[in-house]
Structure formats: C-alpha cells, structure tokens
C-alpha cells in the first residue's frame, strides 16, 4: 500500500534497480490480433525455451536472486497486426514477425549466444527486399510518433509495477501534492488538447465547466464504446496500457471534484474488459485508487460497465442512459453532461485516448504537448489504418501530417500495385477523400472543411476496385440499422436514403433519385436530434461531391465502373489478355462462354448470369466486370 508520494517514488526507484538486472526482455504481443494468430502459444514456447537455457527470470526472481536473466512478457498491441504474431526484444529493439512456436529455439539461441538476430523472421521490405532488424527503423514505425501508445507493446499491461517503473502514477501524485484543481484545468487548457472521441471539443474547457458546476456529487466517465467500424485505437490502449487511462481519469476526478468514475467498454471487447478490471484491482491494492489516495484526502473509485451492442451508445447522453440501465437513447442538449449527466449530476465524459494523453501533459507540461501537431490541433493522434494498403495497423502521428504521408509513408501504398481511389475517414459519420486530398493535413478543421471528420480515427483506404456507391450504401445501411428510432428525420430519412442507394446498386436506380437523395441528405443532417443522424449523410454527400459521375453511371447508364455491383456487371473477355486456356469455360455454370483453345474466348451476355465464377478462376485477369 502506497501512503504518500515518497512511497511511490521509492517503489519506482527500487523497481528500476530490479529491472537493471534484466539482461534482456522478450515481449510477445498479446493484443487481440496477435492472439488470434496464435501468440499465446508462441509465448509459452519462448518461456519454455528460456527455462531450458536456465536464463528465464521473473520480476519476483529478480528481487530474490543475485544472478541476472531474461524476462518474457505478454504485451499490448504493437500496431502492426497483420505481421503478427510479433515478438520484440529489448534492449536491442529487434522485431520478429509472423513468429511460430517452432521458431522459439532459434530465437532464444540467438539471444542467449549474443549472435545476430534470426534473419528469416525479420521484416523484409515487400518492394526493395531490404531487411530491417529494429522495430523503430521499419518504415511503418519510423514515421510515427507514439505518445498515447508509448507503452503499448513495451510493457506488460497486467503488471502495475511495470507501469510504476516507467513513472506511472507520477502525474497523479504530482497533481495531488502540488496542484489545485483549477491549476490542473488551466494546464490542460493551455495544452490545447481536443477530445479524441471525434468532435474535437477543447478538453480543458470541458473540465473547467464540470469543475465549476455546483453539486454534492460528480462523475467522470471514460467513453470506450468505440463503435466506428474499422477503428480499434481505443481497444488497443485499453488492452495495452490500461493504467494510463485509470491515471488520466483519476487526475480528471481531482480536477473536476468527482470521486467516482465509470469506463464504458463495448461488448465486443472482452479482453479490454478483463485487463481493465485487473488494472482497477491492482491500483486499488496499491492505494492508487480508492480512499485517501497517497494520503491526499482525495478519494476516487472506478467501475467498469460493459456495453451491449448499440452504436448510438457512443453518443454521450445515450451512454449515460445506458449506464443508468435504460435504453441507450440520446436526449437533446442542453443541458450538457457537465451540468446534468449521470443520475442528473455534473459529469465529465471523455474518450479513452483523451484520458491517455493526460498523464504526459501533466508530467511534461502543456508546452511539450504543443510541440507536436498544429496550432489548432496540437499533439498526436492515433489512427487505425486499414483497407487496401500494404501495411495495415494501428498508428500514431502528429496531427497535421498529410494523408499521403500516412497512406504511402506509413501504409506503404496500395496493395497489389493497384491505384489509389479514396480514403474513408471518420467512419459512418465521416466522408471519403480523393486523390486531390492526398496533401490535406489530418487535423480536426481541415478534415471538416473537406466534408469528412477525424471521428474516432478510422482510416480505410480504397483502391480502384472499390465502388463508391456501394460504400455509401454500406455506411447508410450501418447508420440506418443503428438509428435508435427516437427522432423522425434520422429514423425515416436514413431508411429512404438507404432505399435509394440500394436501388442504384441493384441496377434499378432512377435519374430523378439524385435530387431526392441530396434533399434528404440535407434534411437528415439539419433535422436530427443527435450526432448520429446529423452526420449520417456525410458519406453520401462526399460520394456525391467527389464521385458524382460514378453514381450517375449507376442510375443513368446502369453501369458500375468499378465492376463491383453484381446486378450491373457486364462480363467481357479482354481479348489482348486472354490466352485461351479455357478454364473460364469449364467453370461457367450456364455455358455462356465459348471459344477455341489458345484463342480469345467470348462471353454471351444473354446467357451470362453474372455469377463472377470466371473472374475468380482466370489466371490472366482477362475478364472485365465493369463492361469496360
């Protein structure tokens, strides 16, 4: 039990001394992605191997034994999920990718003997073939700046002592011993931190409003609902560095005068729930949460609430209703949660990543935070980079870097040498950006001006084979399904919009639909009660703005230029590419394909049922779907 700040300091120093006896450390990623790829078996194999060599050591053993050794730790997500299971060595910084349990002997042998790393397990550049031994040198990581994610992948999230050894809870100790609540709010305001949950509301201002609200009871809520499909930043922080969130929340509690906090986590994130629960327990055991924290007289406890699968619960008033045990429906604002939130009491609600930024701002100061990012959007931001890019994963970059730097610099460009078409930012509330936006800076205001938004930070890259009309339909289907049904514009408007888009995709679009669609989009945007409806038309509006021709091709010419929409597909053999092998003829279920071996085949459009089987078997990509 730590009773005062000096106890915490002493513990940190002792732990650091202990860790000095660690000759090396093996970090195995135990994030959801790597676990799915079998990283737990890899961990076990590595541990066994270390034992065989007689060098395996744990934190407990470090304390008892004189002799140094190698520790093995399950860490949070490194972000490079596609290359998993990932194994990182420290202090050398070597990163092994796609590791299998069978690789353990070789890895440990190389480590223990001090020989060169196992080359076949290192990252090879897909184009240049260059081999990278160190994680930080790999292009995917080199252009990043990890701050909120700093500990993700380099500490054991289930071991509070690792967090403490890295100055964990020092920021909390600092505010409790040196700062008044108004000073804390002032520092956060000075940092210019804006909410990472999508809206970009100034965090310091929100804190100060909640602080000034008069009440006998206040709450702090951490929004871990992360409902945007294609986004997993918050999940990775909750799983990879849970104590940082707890520390950020406790600091917030002190600043606004709350003694109770809730973390609302999506139902789909069982591992995050488990890690957070463990972290809360550990923090209570050490006296870093609970009553009279570090002898300061400040009490703060945190409870974990699991969501139950409703996207709209990410909206703050709906989330509050859900914690209260009701249907998660938004209500009109004002009153804002800072005046009347959970059970009618003043409530501060921030996103996971917002809280994760707090401890470092307190420790290093507002000016330090402002060094990264832009004037109006300071700091770094995490993004989930997915879709048709070479390197997918979780990244963190200074705000204001360009789309190009992310897609090409970090993402390594488009897969399979295809052409870039668009990038979708901000999920169902955001929009798509095109080639002309590649040099647009990624910050709150620039994105809004282009019709998209940072949202929670999902970045889905799309190549030339993506149909933007189908993508717009996809998002509309999502929001329509998730609309809670409380207000009419959102409930009915999204349904009508979806019908129109579905018609276009099904080849039944009408030219007059265009006008109705635009009108509806604006009506839903203006008339809806909460952010869900207000932003739901964004993907459609950006599609109409940047890919109008593609939509027109669907409704006027009944043609899908990308060749995605089955109903509009017109299959044809590209004579120059066809080698006349005849495989397509064999798979065609309706005998629509004919031709002579070694000469270009032809498809009879009358017989063709557009099943696409021929495209899948053609080794020469000689069948076009778009009727090009």
């Amino acid at each position: 039990m730590l009773r005062k700040k000096t106890d915490l300091d002493r513990m940190r120093d002792e732990l650091r001394d202990l860790y000095k006896k660690e000759t090396a450390r093996i970090l195995v990623c135990a994030g959801t992605g790597c676990v799915a790829n079998g990283s737990l078996q890899v961990f076990k194999a590595l541990q066994d191997e270390l034992e065989k060599h007689g060098v395996f050591i744990t934190l407990e053993l470090l304390a008892g034994e004189k002799k140094p050794g190698v520790t093995a730790v399950k860490s949070g997500c490194h972000g490079f999920c596609e290359m998993g299971p990932l194994v990182r060595l420290e202090p050398s910084g070597v990163l092994y990718i796609k590791v299998k349990p069978e690789d353990a002997p070789e890895i440990v042998e190389a480590l223990v003997s001090g020989g060169p790393p196992v080359e076949r397990l290192l990252y090879h550049h897909p184009v240049t073939g260059e081999v990278f031994a160190e994680e930080e040198a790999i292009p995917f990581y080199k252009n990043q700046q990890r701050n909120a994610l700093a500990n993700c992948g380099s500490i054991d999230p289930e071991e509070i002592r690792e967090y403490i050894a890295r100055d964990g809870y020092q920021a909390l100790a600092k505010v409790l011993t040196e700062l008044k609540p108004e000073d804390v709010c002032r520092e956060i305001t000075a940092s210019g931190l804006r909410g990472r949950g999508g809206g970009g509301f100034p965090t310091g201002l929100k804190w100060d409003l909640t602080r000034k609200a008069k009440s006998d009871k206040k709450y702090v809520i951490c929004n871990g609902d992360e409902g945007d499909p294609g986004a997993f930043m918050d999940r990775s922080v909750m799983e990879g560095d849970p104590h940082k969130i707890l520390e950020g929340m406790a600091i917030a509690g002190y600043a606004v005068g709350a003694d109770e906090g809730y973390i609302y986590v999506r139902a789909e994130y069982p591992l995050a729930v488990e890690r957070l629960k463990k972290a809360v327990q550990a923090a209570e055991d050490y006296g870093l949460l609970g009553k009279n924290i570090l002898g300061s007289g400040f009490d703060f406890q945190i409870k974990i609430k699991e969501g139950a699968g409703a996207f709209v619960c990410g909206e703050e008033t709906a989330l509050i209703a859900s914690i209260e045990g009701k249907r998660g429906m938004p209500r009109p604002k004002p009153p804002f949660p800072s005046d009347s939130g959970l059970w009618g009491k003043p409530t501060l609600i921030n996103n996971v990543e917002t809280f994760a930024n707090i401890p470092r701002i307190i420790t290093n100061g507002a000016a330090w935070f402002r060094k990264a990012g832009t004037e109006k959007s300071p700091g770094t931001k995490t993004f989930a980079l997915t879709g048709q890019v070479v390197n997918t994963g979780l990244i963190e970059v200074p705000m204001g870097v360009t789309v190009r730097e992310v897609v090409y610099g970090i993402g390594g460009g488009i897969r399979g040498g295809k052409k870039f078409k668009a990038v979708q930012i901000g999920g169902p509330s955001g929009g798509c950006l095109t080639e002309e936006h590649l040099d647009l800076p990624l910050d709150f205001d620039s994105l809004l001006s282009a019709g998209a938004m940072v949202g929670s930070g999902g970045l889905v890259v799309m190549d030339e084979d993506t149909c933007m009309v189908e993508v717009a339909r996809f998002f509309m289907g999502f929001t329509q399904n998730e609309s809670c049904g409380k207000c009419v514009p959102c409930r009915e408007g999204t349904k009508r919009m979806l019908e129109i888009l579905q018609r276009a995709v099904d080849g039944e679009g009408r030219v007059e639909d265009l006008e109705v669609l635009e009108e509806l989009a604006l009506a839903v945007k203006d008339g809806s009660l909460c952010g869900l409806g207000k932003t739901a038309p964004n993907p459609v509006l950006t599609m109409l703005q940047y890919f109008r021709d593609e939509y027109l091709a669907h409704i006027a010419e009944k043609r899908c230029p990308a060749g995605v929409c089955q109903a509009l597909a017109a299959y044809a053999v590209i004579a120059e590419k066809c080698k006349g092998c005849g495989r397509c003829k064999k798979v065609c279920p309706v005998e629509a394909i004919s031709g002579e071996v070694r000469k270009p085949f032809t498809i009879d459009p009358e017989k063709c049922i557009k099943c696409g089987a021929c495209v899948d078997v053609c080794a020469f990509k000689a069948i076009a779907r778009g009727g090009k």
Binding site: N37, E82, G227, P229, G230, F232, K305, A308, G325, A384
Partner: protein, 182 residues
C-alpha cells in the same frame, strides 16, 4: 415469490422452472436490484441460457420491481440480447468497413450456403450454429475477421471458414460418438 413463478412459467414443469429461476435469483442477488444493474443482469442471464427466454424477462422485471415493458424495451434495444435461442456456436462475421472492403460479403455467402442459413434464418434447426454479422470486432488489421464464440479468426477466406466449420462438426460428432466419461 413462489406465486410469481407459478404464474409466469406456463406449461413448463415447476421442477425445471424452479431450477431455472434459482440461477436467475442468484444473478439478481449478486448485482442488486437497482435499475442500473438491469443490463449486467441481462448479460449474465444470457450467458447462462444463450438467450433471454421471455418468461425470465418477466420474472426479472417482477423481482427488480420494474415494469416488464421496460425490461422488454431494454432487451430488444441492444443487439447483444437475443430473445430467440442461439446456436451452440455463434459465428459472428465482421462487416465493419475494413472487413467489408476486404471481402466479408463472400465469407457470409459461403457460410450461409454451407449451413443453409440466410438473413432471415440465422440459426440452424439443430441449434448448433448461429450466423450473425457485426460491425467491427476491433481486429481490423486482420480483415476479414470472423469470431466463433470467443475465438477470433483473422484473414479468413471462404474456403478457410468452411474448413473451420468442418472441423467443428467433426469434433462435435466425435464427442457424440465417444463413450460417456465420468
């Protein structure tokens, strides 16, 4: 309390129903009867029975002093809750953006075809498999992603998912034919 039980269990044998409600009672006791405990209680009850039988919803309402319509409203609002029985293996196909652009649709079609399911028919008659789509399982780096019960499978292909299902069926059959243990 006994009266409520008899009232709501309908044709079910009291013995079975009694046992059913003992478990529910335990769950309610553990969470307490405050309204904010409703969702966690429903979650645990669903974990126990794999769905929320209607008579249990009514029972929970009475036990917690809530309006049954209220409880029903909550249970139908959240997509996690199911009022119809689900299969032993719940297969959740991610149709989040990242998975969608990497071909989740094809996985769904393959699974539907294999198990004879559709958008309307989500569970097989033998209550072995349920196929649902969800938006984002948070493993987008591995798209397309499928989750079967608690296990996440990444970079799934239509052939791959069929193999996984075959494996599950083989295991199930093996279990059925194996001599009883204990």
């Amino acid at each position: 309390m006994g009266e409520v039980m008899q009232l709501k269990t309908g044709s079910e044998g009291i013995g079975v129903a009694g046992r059913r409600f003992t478990k529910v009672n335990e769950i309610i006791e553990r969470h307490g009867r405050t309204p904010s405990a409703l969702i966690p209680i429903l979650q645990e009850v669903q974990e126990e029975y794999r769905y929320l039988p209607e008579e249990i919803l009514t029972y929970i309402a009475v036990a917690m002093g809530l309006n049954p319509a209220n409880v029903y409203g909550v249970a139908t609002f959240y997509s996690q809750f199911s009022l119809a029985p689900k299969g032993k293996y719940v297969i959740r196909i991610c149709d989040g953006t990242a998975c969608h652009v990497r071909g989740s649709e094809k996985i769904k079609t393959a699974l539907w075809e294999k198990l004879g399911l559709s958008d309307e028919r989500k569970t097989t008659d033998d209550l072995r498999f349920t196929v649902e789509t969800v938006s984002c399982l948070g493993a987008c780096g591995l798209a397309p992603v499928v989750m079967i019960n608690d296990r996440v499978y990444g970079q799934v292909t239509p052939e791959g998912i069929n193999e996984i299902i075959d494996q599950i069926i083989a295991e199930e059959e093996g279990e059925k034919n194996a001599p009883e243990e204990n």
